[in-house]
């Protein structure tokens, strides 16, 4: 039962509009005061930055817009942030947690 149909690899760029598919659930674990992502075979442990990014991934905003938003909020260089979240989202896309 481990065959998954080969699909096109999702490549994340500044223009991508990422979102989590319906079967991936990010929820707050009140008992431990942290967020978790439940996926079919796995459980992910996002840090606060990842949680913030993923909350902004609504399928409408582009990665560039998300980076811009966070750059203002954290008062940090936009390029660094964009590079950081592209790497993170690419990793998650490869694991099927994020679609774009």
């Amino acid at each position: 039962m481990n065959e998954t149909a080969p699909r096109q690899r999702t490549v994340i760029s500044a223009e991508s509009k990422p979102a989590m598919p319906r079967y991936i659930k990010m929820r707050h674990d009140a008992g431990r005061d942290r967020w978790i992502i439940l996926a079919p075979e796995r459980l992910f442990d996002p840090d606060p930055i990842a949680v913030e990014v993923l909350k902004l991934c609504d399928g409408a905003r582009t990665v560039g817009e998300i980076a811009e938003h966070l750059a203002k909020e954290y008062n940090a260089p936009r390029e660094d942030i964009e590079a950081d979240i592209v790497t993170m989202l690419q990793d998650l896309a490869d694991k099927g947690v994020v679609k774009a």
Binding site: M1, G31, L43, D45, D47, L70
Partner: protein
């Protein structure tokens, strides 16, 4: 966002079920990730009912069997299956007692399969008819595991062990149907003093039945098996011989059948990681809906268990007291706390530690580093050389202290 160096913002946990008797067919390599305490469970052991026509003296069900009027309803089990799939569980083992005693098994399997779960039926097979098996397959059943007591040519012994006349022949017939219907088959053979001499023949028998996998499952001494330890414990010599046979057969039958062996911990140096680690990959649900980290966990009398009727499964898994109590390694005492094997075997079996030391956080006496190990291992050696007492058969009320029967009960006593 102050680091420029590439940094992991999301840690991933891959669940594996690497050891113990509840083995999954999924065999991905374990990836050590001590930073993540909670992983999504991979397997659900659903004890649909404690009813069973057999009476195996090594049954892993609790001595106090749950009654039919406390069993979850069809809808409740269906809800469990959906919640399990959502939680990330991949495989559900439909077990018991005898799961086919539930008339709504078809509906439960249909729901489980629609939810995307891989369904495994763990059955004694004697209640199955061919058309029902076919029906179960149509509902989405993926895999069948049939337990046997001995080989077909020792049917009398097999039926005496299971306390069910004609069981051996019936199981053979059902195994044939499973293959005719093109379904994968596992043969599970609990091994003990009364069949250990036949280990080689049992493996060959599983091959002749067309099984892809056989479990040479040395009895684990909890619950009914602990009651019957003096009758069931093989000698160390018999065990060593069986272990050699398994090794040789594995070579011989490479590519023909997979042989999984569960070792009796009385004769091991280190304990097994019970359930692959407490609250790490497996959930067990009793017929009435109690959610356990291990099927024997109710024997730890200080623990409180949640019921799927009161709380969502994910909440119980993540936050339930019983699951968090012995999850990971932070609860450990010495010698486990500082032992390099602590993430290998998680200190062994909590239930065994509790039963023998009164504190489930102690090292399992099965470990040679436990101060109680020597004394404990001696018991096996002594008992295995004495004459085998009569079986205390698994049946409702059967474990309550009564004057011991003078003779070995016949199957017809049932």
């Amino acid at each position: 966002m102050n680091e420029t160096a590439p940094e992991k913002h999301v840690k991933e946990s891959t669940v594996t079920m690497d050891a113990g008797e509840m083995r999954c067919d999924a065999s991905s390599a374990p990836s050590p990730d001590p930073s993540c305490v909670i992983r999504a469970p991979i397997g659900l052991l659903a004890e649909l009912t404690h009813r069973c026509p057999l009476q195996c003296p090594y049954c892993s069900n609790p001595l106090e069997l749950e009654k039919v009027n406390t069993e979850l309803t069809t809808e409740e089990w269906q809800k469990v299956m959906r919640q399990a799939a959502q939680l990330g569980i991949l495989q559900v083992h439909l077990s018991g007692g005898e799961p086919t005693a539930r008339r709504d098994l078809e509906e439960i399997i249909t729901t489980a399969s629609e939810a995307g779960l891989y369904t495994n039926l763990i059955t004694a097979a004697v209640l199955l008819k061919r058309d029902r098996l076919e029906k179960l397959k149509e509902c989405g059943l993926d895999h069948v595991q049939i337990s046997i007591q001995d080989i077909d040519t020792a049917a009398e012994n097999a039926d005496r062990i299971g306390g069910y006349k004609g069981g051996s022949a019936k199981k053979k017939e059902v195994a044939g149907w499973v293959r005719e219907l093109g379904m994968p088959l596992t043969i599970n053979a609990p091994i003990h003093r009364h069949n250990i001499h036949n280990v080689e023949a049992i493996i060959d028998y599983a091959v002749s039945l067309g099984a892809g996998r056989v479990e040479v499952a040395h009895v684990q001494y909890y619950a009914w098996a602990l009651k019957n330890r003096a009758s069931l414990m093989p000698t160390r010599e018999a065990f060593m011989e069986a272990a050699r046979i398994v090794e040789r057969k594995r070579e011989e039958l490479k590519g023909i059948i997979v042989i999984d062996a569960v070792v009796p911990d009385y004769y091991a140096k280190f304990p097994k990681p019970c359930m692959g680690g407490w609250g790490k990959g497996i959930i067990n649900i009793t017929p009435s809906g109690r959610v356990l980290p291990c099927h024997a966990a109710e024997s730890i009398t200080q623990l409180e268990f949640d019921n799927v009727k009161d709380r969502p499964l994910a909440d119980i898994w993540l936050n339930g007291d019983a699951f968090n109590k012995y999850r990971g390694t932070s609860w450990m005492k010495e010698p486990c706390r500082t032992c390099p094997r602590r993430e290998v075997d998680y200190g062994g079996c909590r239930c065994q530690a509790f039963a023998l030391t009164g504190d489930a956080a102690n090292t399992d006496p099965a470990c040679s580093l436990s101060p109680m190990h020597e004394e404990w291992a001696k018991v096996a050696d002594v008992e295995s050389h004495l004459a085998s007492p009569a079986f205390i058969y698994r049946r409702p009320g059967g474990a309550s202290p009564k004057p011991a029967p003078a003779k070995t009960p016949e199957p017809s006593d049932a």
